[in-house]
Symmetry: C2
Subunit: 361 residues, 2 copies
């Protein structure tokens, strides 16, 4: 088999023969097809180079007003960076709350955290275009207003960069991601793929799933490499863990959220509790909210979400591990988690939430 390669320095193309081919084309940021969206001053922050460019502009041109479109991880993290630099930050989010991979009650805590640090938040508002002046962005036009902007950040998510694979006739799956088996083989013999361009398997929903995260990409790449090198390893899939922060507020999620469970046609119970990151009397103890979701009847644990101050988010890993184990709430309630006053209340907040959810079964 052969693949056509273009030398980006001199533009020359050639056909390169191969026995095994690895496609690791990653993802591309979703850019809205809106009037003015290719104006200067509008950035998708998806590569190291684009991050460096945004930083250079901020340092040199000192834009005052920045509008961020989209309240996902990138939106949140950019909002934090700009707030810390004293800029005027507006964030436009089309959903009812930011972080729509959380249920809206938990997303609301993140929305409030954004407003607390000074971000002007516009929820249920959609960007419809950009006003420009001499090819440079001047304002973001939404369905409700015009927002003056010296700089615009697109945080609207990514889609798999799978056009090369598609053009070669390699089958695609959910959201246009390349279909691979557990060994990271595409459906074409000798062609492998991994990372942000491939479909993953969701261990909790038991369905194909698309996730673009460095940690998953890294693990998949290792599996592909071992198999291409003649070894044998499989990648079991993901449980949908992700984590972010906005200044002092940590945000984490794993498993399925309410709307995903609805879509599967399952019934579920939830519990949401407020507790403390450390023993209540210990210095720097602070709030943590934990929500857990479990299947009605069986009690099978389906997912969890955490919002809180320092020490809150990494607790999601216990819930992620429980999802890998296929635990029911009953199997989780006595998990022998660590306790000492600097680290946790006697019952870790995640276990308090599990206990409360059991009462709903």
């Amino acid at each position: 088999m052969r693949v056509k390669v273009r030398d980006l320095e001199n533009g020359k193309e050639r056909w390169e023969p191969f026995d095994q081919l690895m496609i690791a084309t990653g993802a591309v940021p979703i850019r809205p097809d809106l009037p003015g969206s290719d104006a200067e001053g509008i950035y998708g922050v998806n590569t190291l180079q684009s991050g460096i460019e945004v930083r250079r502009i901020v340092d040199q041109e000192k834009p005052k007003r920045v509008v961020i479109i989209g309240g996902g991880y990138i939106g949140l993290e950019m909002a934090e960076a700009f707030i810390l630099r004293g800029m005027d930050v507006s964030l436009v989010e089309s959903s009812s709350e930011v972080m729509n991979t959380l249920d809206s009650d938990m997303g609301n805590l993140v929305s409030e955290a954004l407003m607390c640090v000074g971000v002007k938040l516009f929820r249920e508002e959609t960007a419809e275009g950009f006003e420009t002046d001499n090819g440079k962005v001047k304002a973001v036009i939404t369905d409700k207003r015009s927002m003056p902007a010296d700089m615009v950040i697109l945080g609207m998510g990514v889609r798999p960069n799978s056009s090369l694979a598609e053009n070669a006739g390699i089958p695609l799956g959910v959201k246009g991601a390349i279909k691979v088996n557990e060994r990271m083989q595409t459906e074409v013999e000798g062609i492998w793929s991994a990372g942000d361009c491939v479909e993953s398997y969701h261990i909790v929903s038991r369905k194909p799933f698309y996730v673009a995260l460095g940690t998953v990409a890294n693990k998949q790449g290792r599996i592909a490499g071992i198999n291409i090198g003649g070894g044998y390893k499989t990648f079991p899939g993901v449980v949908g863990t992700a984590v972010s922060k906005i200044c002092a507020v940590e945000v984490a999620r794993t498993g399925l959220q309410e709307k995903e469970i609805h879509r599967l046609g399952l019934e579920f119970v939830t519990a949401k509790i407020k507790s403390h990151t450390r023993a209540r009397y210990y210095p720097d103890a602070g709030p943590i909210t934990v929500k857990v979701l479990a299947e009605k009847g069986s009690g099978r644990f389906l997912g969890g979400q955490i919002v809180g101050i320092e020490g809150a988010a990494k607790r999601i890993d216990v819930l992620a591990t429980a999802l890998h184990a296929g635990f029911t709430l009953d199997q989780m309630i006595h998990l022998d988690l660590s306790y000492a006053p600097p680290y946790s209340p006697v019952w870790d907040p995640v276990l308090i939430a599990v206990r409360m959810a059991m009462k709903q079964l």
Copy 2:
């Protein structure tokens, strides 16, 4: 059935009838039977009252030189408290390293942390008696020297306070702890027990085990209460999780350590890795050392130990959850743990350790 009760205020005794009896007598600190050990100025810090008393003495009498006997959790935590108050702190530990619930290579990191914060550490040294002056402690005599002391703290561990049960003919188990079944029933019908006075079941060693920790006691008490009240719940046992800290250094362990695995006659592999608590380039990223132990051949995960700066210790909960699940290393390597630069390197340190241990199988 009846139980004899003494009114501590007026000394009167009476026989109290019962249908169900709960024994929750807790633990008592181990006090060495050494010359002078009942002198004034020697404290076992095992009750709230004794903690308050030590604090009062420190505030009012301002002792300068304190000697701590024993380098377990209590020893470490008291050392931290005294160092923060600017006192001269010596710690005597009979083993080769403090924290002997860790393997000595990991315990060594804790010993070094103690010395770094200014504790004078005397390892492989045994207290043999106390010099006193007018009934007040003046010095600790070890097998190697005499250490002047204005105050002495005993951190030599606890033993179950099971004499009441023993005298009533209730069978005891390991270390003299009261034997109970999974419902927290003793071997005598109608008599229940929970907490630091009972034997637990160790899920990894599959043997009876004695552990005196508030978190376990609290969970067991809940189970006993539900069963006494006519409900039905069982306590599955523990995996030996514990956590402590000395100033900036966090210490955690779960499962079996090397000497426990030896005692079971199992063969094992280990891996110990150094990594970072956050992405290496992220502010406040710092060192974390993780050790994992797994059964040779099967790859069954047996235990883990962590020493590192803020953010290190709570990661032990992932390993504890994996022990509850009975995971092999192979089942752990792809755990979908959270990643973002403020929280973790791309591969969480616990997974790096798992990966390294797999290479030893």
